[in-house]
Amino acid sequence: MSQPLLECDSVTVRFRGLLALNDVSFSLQQGEILGIIGPNGAGKSTLFNVITGIYRANAGRIRFAGRDLNGKPAHRIVELGIARTFQSSRLFTDMSVLDNVVIGLHTRTRTSVLDAILRYRRARRELNDAATRAGELLRTVSAELYEQRHRRAGELAQADRRRLEIARALATEPKLLLLDEPSSGMDDRETQALVRDIRGVHQRRPDLSIMIIEHDMSLVAALPDRVMVLDYGQKIAEGSFESIRSLEHVERAYLGGKSSHA
């Protein structure tokens, strides 16, 4: 087997007395889709936050594409190729849809302060190119969203906000995309459209690895190659969705207890 893209080795995150993540180890291959499920408070979002550099691991190692991520600031990790979306979408609401994606291109553009002031033409050209690229990216994610590119991001409907967040994350040219509950706040029809969108993204970028935190089991059944179950900060199971759902302790921890989501 080839070298995994992401490797978490015994990662532990502690908040005062609380063990948010306890000795979690897993790896992810290039192009693979990994689903992460577990009850609320199981440490799923904490895992994303520690991978993206928002939190620091108290113990354990995270390696990505041959590099150590421990202690790297969040903006450097984006540059290395990890992008994410948030559970409650965090768009730049007072800016245009297009600008949101252009900001996603921040690490892929170079203009410095002095360039911007003294070599304005070059800076402007770079930004115009970025806007063109952002527009094309928007169009591939969703034609409807592209039509709305000059609207304020805050005016978008919920489903479009998610799409925009995904487009913005893709703009950073990631090798790994982390989606934190992309279907939250969506109805069944919208969730199905979301599954199609994510599939489309993955078809166009077969090398992109994706990690998805989800509560919606129809999505978990449809998308991931592999599913990991977290409970009280620990990994309690890992495998295909079919193999996981039949495990008794998983059902007890999650599926059985949370009938509303299952």
């Binding site: 903006h75 540059e79 800016m95 245009s96 297009l98 900001i103 360039d115 800076a123």
Partner: protein
């Protein structure tokens, strides 16, 4: 109502139409400013204020009109810039020997530079910096002390002051990196107070007596203490400083515009909207915050140097906390993250208290009422921020 107006906007105007409209609007604005500044009749000034207030109220009610005016200016940008520049250059010729009005214009221009400086922080990046007055003071004192003690002239002082103030901007930026919102505001207030106290208590700054005897600058052998004689016209010596101040306003506009329309401006805007999301797009929040402090200090130092050489005397009282609050009010009332709005805010809030001197004791009451009224009529500022455009397509 909005839909009706956009509906008849359909026929494309001929190529010269927006240009003429822009010239008309700018000429009208200049005429209003001239009348407002030179009139001694309180009924005229109050009437103009009321008319302007009604104008803004109309804009607030009909966003389509506002959009259309903005489009005129966007399509006739070169005309707008050239004619605006021309108006700024010929304005002193209309004012003639009225040095008081010229003084008001110089102070307004300096405040416009300060407000543009603060706009990088407050407007673009939502950093509540209450220390712009301190950077202004650091700039003024640096160049004044260099001039009085070492004989360094205005132009050298301008550069030296900018370097020193930018250094202090970085110094202030570093403790500010780890704080935000109200805490950040407190750090900057403390910095402003510390700077004021140091200037007031150290002997080599002249203490509370300040620095005096700052020599007049000169350019190509023309001393700024001499009147300008040109084409048979004679402009009072203040006109020298008027032109320098206007030139620095122009420079500040160019810098502000270029930074706003670059990835730097976008990164600042991202910080303003959501700091965590900005970090997750690869933006180094720390660097961009410190950068905003440095740019603010750099431009404030320019204003400080001009002020010191213009008045010839500076004291700690010129650079109090209140100055920082005034600059902040200008940015908020004028329109955060809108270059023209910020400049308008600076002019308005400099000139208003002066014109209200006729109301003597009620002056500040009226001033405060007008600021509140403006924020009620235009909550996002007189000229609110706009969405960016790329490559001409709206």
């Amino acid at each position: 109502m909005a839909t009706r107006v956009t509906a008849d906007a359909a026929p494309a105007p001929r190529w010269f139409a927006p240009g003429l409209l822009v010239i008309g609007i700018e000429a009208l604005a200049a005429a209003v400013l001239f009348l407002f500044l030179t009139s001694d009749n309180w009924m005229v000034t109050t009437g103009l204020l009321l008319a302007a207030g009604l104008g803004f109220l109309a804009l607030q009610r009909n966003p389509a009109i506002e959009t259309r005016i903005v489009e005129w200016f966007a399509s006739a940008r070169t005309t707008a810039i050239l004619f605006g520049g021309l108006l700024a250059v010929v304005f002193p010729f209309f004012i003639g020997s009225n040095t008081y009005v010229l003084h008001l214009l110089i102070v307004s221009a300096l405040y416009a530079v300060l407000a543009l400086a603060l706009n990088f922080q407050l407007g673009s990046a939502n950093i509540p910096n209450f220390a712009t007055g301190a950077s202004y003071g650091i700039g003024a004192y640096t160049s004044a002390l260099l001039a009085v003690n070492f004989g360094i002239g205005f132009w050298g002082g301008l550069v030296a002051a900018a370097i020193v103030a930018t250094f202090f901007g970085f110094v202030l930026g570093i403790p500010s990196m780890r704080t935000r919102d109200s805490y950040l505001a407190l750090v900057t207030i403390a910095f402003g107070v510390v700077v004021h106290q140091i200037i007031n208590n150290v002997t080599w700054t002249g203490g509370p007596n300040g620095v005096f005897g700052i020599p007049a600058p000169s350019l190509f052998g023309h001393s700024f203490s001499q009147p300008i004689e040109i084409l048979g016209y004679s402009l009072p010596s203040q006109a020298n400083f008027y032109y320098v101040a206007i030139a620095v306003v122009g420079l500040s506009i160019v810098v502000a515009y270029r930074l706003h329309n670059s990835r730097i401006g976008l990164a600042w805007n991202a910080l303003r909207a959501d700091e965590l999301a900005a970090r997750c797009q690869g933006i180094s929040v720390t660097w961009y915050k410190v950068l905003a402090f440095a740019v603010d200090a750099f431009m404030a130092a320019f204003a400080g140097t001009i002020y010191a050489f213009y008045v010839g005397y500076i004291s700690p009282d010129n650079f109090t906390f209140l100055v920082s609050v005034t600059i902040m009010t200008m940015v908020i009332v004028g329109g955060m993250d809108n270059i023209l709005g910020v400049i308008l805010g600076a002019f308005l809030l400099t000139v208003l208290p002066e014109k209200f001197r006729i109301f003597s004791d009620y002056r500040l009451l009226l001033y405060g009422t007008i600021v509140i009224a403006m924020l009620m009529v235009r909550p996002e500022g007189l000229f609110p921020k706009r969405l960016r455009r790329y490559g001409g397509h709206g």
